[in-house]
């Protein structure tokens, strides 16, 4: 068994930890972990832990609430229809005004000579489109409630009922997600650590947790060769690809594990599950739409599905996801700082330097930028810099990278 030592005098474990007593009553024994079902420390009870998502990312919760329960898709539909209708109306008005001025068509006693109509087709299109967009959005958002204007109590009770219902469904979703997280991870390919994996990883995890002043979650291994690790509500999953890629380098593992420990301790997975739970009514639809778009290769069928469901697709992908991604990326920066606290700044920098670009892939297009779950790696590296140390380029932490070449002629052919 490898010993990784314990934090010395004045370690971060003895700093004040929000929500947890110093030194947090840490009991790293497996029995204690099992007893607490791998709930992160600092949460007064399991109930507080499960509802913590309600207190986290209020912006995303509000957007999810509006999207799933308060007519946001209808507003998107109204905005789309208004945009197209307004643009067409504005364009035709502008064109008619222009034709009228040139005498191509009769002016009908000055019908087309108002200043607004004379500005031409392009401006008419823009103005009409914008007016239609705003008017359609407001009509879709407020229309159902205005229809209930004569029955204000019904409208008010409906709003309250929907909000309460959304919260209850969100909490149920979180509870179920957390409860079955282990099964889900196993279905996705995660497994328990082998003896020798545990011999390597457990001391590192416990040491990092100790330096953060927290307990440890359950660690699972995913045999995927993808270079990544993940954190759930009760588990940390380390990909075999990460271990292999960095040759079981304890510094790298320590950096990544510290990062994931912060995610776990901050209940990021719980917070994100809460948003998904509140979004559930249209989240399920969105998943179906996405499945059709990705899996079905019949363009006519895809067109038909999108023709009827585009407001939901736009609501989730263009409104909800970017807003939620803001909090997600903030959480990533915070988790990175966990590696700094545990002394694994360089280990994490090493991984980030290797990954290049971003965990989400290339940063272009809507989903790679606004919806990205991780900030750009270069900016993460910047925040991981130690004051007073030179971090010039090329990055000293970056591992030598294999050079891709293409074989155009064999040695035998050359001779």
């Amino acid at each position: 068994m490898v010993s990784v030592g314990s934090p010395g005098e004045g370690s971060v474990a003895q700093q004040s930890v929000p929500g947890a007593a110093t030194p947090l009553g840490r009991d790293p024994s497996p029995e204690a972990a099992r007893r607490w079902r791998f709930r992160p420390p600092g949460y007064g009870s399991a109930a507080i832990w499960l509802v913590s998502g309600l207190f986290r990312d209020r912006r995303s919760l509000l957007i999810a609430l509006g999207a799933a329960w308060l007519n946001l898709p209808l507003a998107v539909f109204g905005a789309g229809v208004g945009l197209v209708g307004g643009a067409l109306g504005g364009a035709s008005s502008g064109i008619l005004a222009g034709l009228s001025d040139r005498g191509v068509i009769p002016n009908f006693h000055g019908l087309f000579t108002s200043p607004l109509l004379e500005v031409g087709g392009i401006v008419g299109t823009v103005v009409g489109g914008l007016v239609g967009l705003v008017a359609g959005f407001l009509a879709g958002l407020l229309g159902p409630w205005l229809a209930l204007f004569a029955q204000p109590v019904t409208a008010l009770a409906l709003v309250i009922g929907q909000v309460v219902g959304a919260v209850v469904i969100g909490l149920l979703y979180v509870t179920v997600s957390v409860a079955i997280e282990g099964w889900v991870l196993r279905l996705q390919g995660a497994r328990r650590m082998s003896r020798r994996e545990a011999a390597l990883l457990t001391p590192i995890v416990e040491e990092c947790a100790s330096r953060l002043g927290i307990t440890s979650p359950r660690v699972l291994i995913d045999d995927s060769n993808q270079v990544s690790a993940a954190s759930g509500a009760r588990h940390i999953v380390v990909n075999l690809g990460l271990l292999d890629e960095f040759h079981y380098d304890p510094a790298v593992i320590g950096g990544v594990v510290s990062h994931e420990l912060v995610h776990w301790r901050n209940a990021d997975a719980v917070a994100h599950a809460m948003v998904r739970g509140i979004l559930l009514p249209i989240y399920v639809l969105y998943l179906l739409i996405n499945t059709v778009r990705v899996r079905i290769h019949n363009p006519l069928l895809v067109f038909l599905v999108l023709a009827f469901t585009w407001p939901i697709d736009i609501t989730v992908r263009r409104i909800v996801m970017p807003v939620q991604a803001l909090d997600v990326r903030t959480a990533e920066y915070m988790a990175d700082q966990g590696a700094v606290l545990t002394g694994h700044r360089d280990g994490l920098r090493h991984v980030l330097s290797w990954l290049q670009g971003s965990v989400d892939g290339g940063r272009n297009g809507w989903e790679q930028t606004l919806c990205a779950s991780h900030p750009p790696n270069e900016l993460r590296l910047e925040r991981l810099e130690e004051r007073g140390r030179d971090y010039g380029l090329p990055d000293g932490d970056a591992p030598p990278r294999a050079l891709r070449v293409e074989v155009v002629r064999t040695w035998r052919q050359t001779r």
């Binding site: 600092g42 009870s45 309600l54 204000p152 011999a199 380098d249 090493h350 990278r401």
Partner: protein, 415 residues
């Protein structure tokens, strides 16, 4: 499968991926992969920054190995805990509170639960209160007020305050025993119109021992407490109609109302009779105000006393006529003529006509059943001073209309 080449991390010589040792400098690379995984090129050189193979947990240590003070890792592989760098520039070391989020406190959770509970209670309360403002409740309140003879309460539930031409709605005399209010009313069903502003309540109740079912029209009234919109009973949907030939007024539950006309009334049954009258009398009838035209019919009869009075007036009238000295008494039912001049005319009633009072469409009229006979005598003088007697007898009838003026029966001879 893609063939890939890597550059040696030590001498940058390009080498095939499946060769574990660099053919140029002999550098040993650990964990060579022959193919490029989907997630990106596998970099086997990550952990090989020192230029040689890295120690793996469980493998024998190199000669001269000195354990790291903080663990059994090779020197430099395991960084010091963050506590060792707390003396560094504070800006490069995050505070623990910046990394680990503050979980919600029990107080936060309790407050959120209280807000949710309050929202649920408020919604339930609103719905319960709104139940007091339904058409059914308005109908029940209206009938309850009637059952209690609370006419002010009943009037307050009408759409408009009764005017002077609606004495049955305005008069507190409806407390008279002549009015039987509906009792044991219960709303069987309510149907709200499409616009939500009108409703029809089907109400069952009893009048006396008779079960009755009727429909009550209700309309929305103004808001109460900004939120609640009450209902009122449409005025004028119930009316009392008493047909009383030759009567201008009838007395309904002690209140005089026009006869032969629908008079708005509260639902119920009413005793209807003729007001005290020297001419006519009729047996009381029960009139119902239950919606729709349900006229009650009074059958007026001429009072015996009225017959006597009319007979006396006719006798006096004929006596006045008999005193006439003209062959054609003005305004009298009898008369004669002669080509000669008749002097000393004297009329006498040989027999009085027999007549009766009849109620006709034109009112109470006197019709003759047996003609009377009158005799006239006189003298016809000649130019030579002589004369000879004149006599004649005529039969006559008496007719005319009987009315009541100033509380007295008055017979008016016909033309």
């Amino acid at each position: 499968m893609t063939s890939a080449f890597y550059s040696c991390p030590q001498c940058r010589t390009v080498r095939p991926a499946d060769q574990p040792r660099c053919p140029e400098c002999g550098h040993q690379v650990v964990g060579v992969e022959a193919t490029v995984p989907a997630g990106g090129p596998a970099g086997p050189v990550a952990a090989d920054r020192s230029g040689g193979p890295q120690w793996q947990p469980g493998s024998p240590r190199e000669p001269g190995y000195q354990p790291h003070p903080q663990g059994d890792w090779p020197a430099g592989a395991w960084p010091p805990p963050a506590a060792d760098v707390t003396s560094m520039d504070a800006t490069s070391m995050p505070a623990l509170s910046q990394v680990l989020r503050s979980p919600p406190s029990r107080r936060d959770v309790r407050r959120a639960a209280a807000i949710l509970a309050a929202a649920v209670v408020a919604a339930a309360g609103l719905i319960a209160l709104n139940g007091l403002f339904t058409p059914g409740r308005a109908a029940e309140g209206f009938f309850a007020a009637l059952a209690n003879r609370d006419f002010d309460g009943a009037r307050a539930r009408l759409t408009a305050q009764p005017g002077p031409d609606e004495p049955l709605l305005a008069s507190a005399q409806l407390a008279d025993d002549g009015y039987t209010p509906p009792r044991h009313a219960r709303v069987e069903s309510v149907e709200v119109g499409d616009d939500g502003d009108a409703a029809t309540a089907r109400v069952a109740f009893e009048i006396g021992d008779s079960p009755v079912v009727t429909e009550l029209q209700l309309v929305r009234s103004g808001r109460s407490w900004l939120l609640f919109q009450g209902w009122r009973v449409q005025e004028g949907q119930f009316a009392v109609l008493v047909d009383a030939p030759n009567a201008t007024e009838v007395e309904v539950a002690g209140v005089r109302v026009p006869a032969n006309a629908a008079v708005p009334a509260f639902p119920g049954s009413y005793q209807a009779k003729l007001p005290d009258n020297p001419l006519l009398e009729a047996a009381p009838v029960t009139a119902y105000a239950l919606g729709g035209e349900q006229p009650a019919e009074l059958e007026p009869n001429v009072k015996a006393t009225a017959n006597e009075q009319v007979g006396k007036q006719i006798t006096d009238y004929l006596a006045r006529c008999a005193r006439s000295t003209e062959l054609q008494p003005p305004g009298c039912p009898f008369g004669t003529s002669s080509s000669d001049t008749v002097t000393g005319v004297r009329w006498g009633i040989l027999s009085y006509p027999k007549s009766k009072l009849e109620a006709t469409a034109d009112g109470i009229v006197v019709t003759t059943t047996s003609s009377g006979e009158a005799e006239v005598t006189g003298v016809i003088p000649y130019y030579d001073g002589t004369s000879y007697p004149f006599s004649d007898s005529v039969s006559f009838d008496v007719d005319g209309q009987v009315t009541v003026e100033n509380g007295r029966v008055r017979w008016q001879p016909g033309e």
